[in-house]
Symmetry: C4
Subunit: 251 residues, 4 copies
């Protein structure tokens, strides 16, 4: 029987060359702020893919590449090691299709972090407010009170009652699940209308995150990347709507 969740490391890479003290999670979510920020940093730094995660908790479909070849939906781990430090990135196509899957996948992500020597996890997301905003803040949450001052200094805002008492999906669960292992967790949520891939919100989050990381990343290409991502996501969302119909049709 297939494993419910599979992780496959690139075998040419040793454990040492997989490790890093920092993990940045940027999976799909509100306004795709997390995805945009994480993938932007990753590409600017030239990170290398070290592992692929597939799971029965992802949607039951394959993704078609531009050349017509298919691949399973996945999440991926990338790693950068260089002048600016060592960072791991968790990015991918989807989060889980079920509540139980969210827990089981987030648990795996935290286990990977432990195995690869991670001391701090940043999870990046959007905070959807449902209407357009002139100025967008970066709302923060942490899994240890001692992290607060550092986050505030970098520009993160702690606002009681925002986001309404909870953070959904991997961005929240990874912080909660990492806590008992002493791994620091910081969630940065870019305020966004939530309707489109939001480069303005992502720019603000990038600014706070890079201050925390102590690095400089050019944000010139962020808007361009947002536009490309928007096109790709619209296709995927249309497909998902169809797939809901199709699943009800073939199931």
């Amino acid at each position: 029987m297939m494993e419910d969740i599979n992780i496959k490391y690139d075998e040419s890479i040793t454990l040492e060359d997989r490790s890093a003290p920092i993990l940045i999670e940027g999976l799909p979510g509100i306004g795709h702020v997390g995805k945009l920020v994480a993938e932007h940093i990753m590409h600017e730094l030239g990170a290398t893919r070290i592992a692929e995660i597939t799971s029965i908790y992802f949607p039951p479909q394959v993704i078609i590449s531009e050349n017509g070849t298919v691949r399973l939906c996945n999440n991926e781990i990338y790693r950068y090691k260089g002048e600016l430090g060592s960072f791991l990135f968790l990015v991918g196509d989807f989060q889980s299709t079920s509540g139980e899957g969210h827990y089981l996948l987030s648990h795996l992500y935290v286990n990977i972090a432990r195995e690869l020597g991670v001391k701090r996890i940043y999870t990046i997301g959007g905070y959807g407010v449902g209407h357009f905003l002139e100025v967008t803040r970066v709302i923060a949450a942490i899994n240890q009170e001692s992290l607060k001052a550092e986050v505030e200094t970098a520009g993160g805002i702690f606002s009681e009652g925002e986001p309404g008492g909870g953070i959904i999906g991997a961005a929240g669960l990874m912080l909660g699940l990492a806590k008992p292992f002493g791994i620091e967790g910081i969630c940065l949520m870019g305020e966004t209308s939530g309707y489109l891939v939001d480069p303005k919100s992502a720019t603000n989050v990038l600014s706070v995150l890079t201050k925390l990381l102590g690095i400089t990343i050019d944000d010139a290409k962020l808007t361009e990347r947002a536009g490309e991502m928007e096109v790709a996501l619209q296709r995927l969302l249309e497909q998902e709507k169809k797939s809901d119909e199709e699943l009800s049709y073939i199931g």
Copy 2:
């Protein structure tokens, strides 16, 4: 792989200091009558937290505290031992997100009760009638006929056909699952419109429950607590609505 349900006891507390003959369950439900009554007694008595339960059957999100730190959704066991007796309390953020989870969690709760020497379980809930009421009754159900007279003397009402043949969630299942182990089970349901946290209904339930427990609990702060809970729950419910949208968006 993550366990589907996890219970973690405070390790500084011995088994003897965890035990008590009475368990009072007050998880979220209709009008949050159970939650309000159980948490009110618990706080008035100054009960101590002895265990935390987390599960993949809870919603896949974390709760943000006032200071900006996050924690996993959980249910908790508190214990009071003092002049008024020994009581355990089962309270928490949510019940299960699936029917199977309701059974598996309730089974765990009954196992905990057995392990901690519980002889009687009180489950507290609301009985939603869907319209505002001048006078609200406390409807009762039991898992052994011998308990009837005692409950009626304390003011509980057995009304054939109310609540319509069934009790949903932990309040009902714990009674049914405890029965084969000879653990007495009494469910007290405060009649309520079901729309808001209902302090009037909770006051009535508190009156019946404390008579059964043979203790006196001041109800002065019940209305105040109801107001606070209402604010917190409104935030959580808004968040839940958003999270349904978000889950469909990221899943």
Copy 3:
């Protein structure tokens, strides 16, 4: 951890006193024709309860009896042995809440049948047509072609394309799952509007079934029983609607 499905036999009854060559299934379904017919025969014959089945695949609620005591939702096995022969009856509160549960429970029922020496299974259901009918037929299906003549002689009708290519739930699955073990399976479906407990449809099914069983059962009380069942079911259905709301509220 709780078993997903539990069967508990009355321990005072030996395996020999549990066995019978015929099993009659009458679980809830369209028009509650199956439930009505099976329970009517069972009560007229004075059958004895020999086993109780509980499961996490039943709705997460307890049933309240007239005296205020609760019990878990269950399915039950009754047995009659006497002048008229030996029969087992499978009756209960609900079928499964999930598709997977339907398969797993039906598989258990067939395993019970094998263990108790059953050679033939009758499954009784309703065939809902969605409008009121003057004359209601008894539509039949079988799991071995050799049974056809016998069923037709008793008044069962094989009508190509009715019911539209499929039988849902235990009434169908038990026939399919029993087939590889050489257990004969006959499904009798009373045509019904499907709106109410339908004593007219049940009377027709009772007539065909008793001919097949070679026994005579008085049908005088069938209408009375239907009325009682209607009252009980209306309460349960109202409760179920509420419980859907409540589950979404507490989950």
Copy 4:
């Protein structure tokens, strides 16, 4: 406990007589193009059934044959060996009722392919565009770039952004899951309105597929078969609608 997925080979057939280098999947889907094409070839060649797959992930119902006998929903493997070559066919009643089931079943299908010596898998489906078309193309996807030229020569079209980034269900997952085992995978999707069994779309797919297989199959009976399938499917779909109601009623 029942296995979640069961495969039963006809025991009179040796492993050698089960094997073939090519597997053609034609399970139900959009416009039932895959089902129509695969079953047409299978019948024209006179393929033999070698295995039956049943699963708790199929809908919980049985199918009634014309003679009134029932069988469990299933998927089946057929095999042809003769002058034209050796081919396996995967056809059946339904795909999975859940996302997780889609993965687990597709994984099984790929394992079967590996066991039976399959070197190439063709998955056939429809590409629903939601409106009627004068000319319908055959859109293709592959799991290795080296297959592209061969598919294009046979008439398959690679169109960037069609089908919108993904292929749902077994047609996609089998290609993705087969890839790590070096099994070639080609998906052919007949453009179709998606409303009815579409013989025109199927004729186009048949033409491309037979070129790829290097065989000739008469398409004269394709329209006739489409008509028959339409009648059968309408019955099944009506039944499914009813079964949704019935499941909510009995569950």
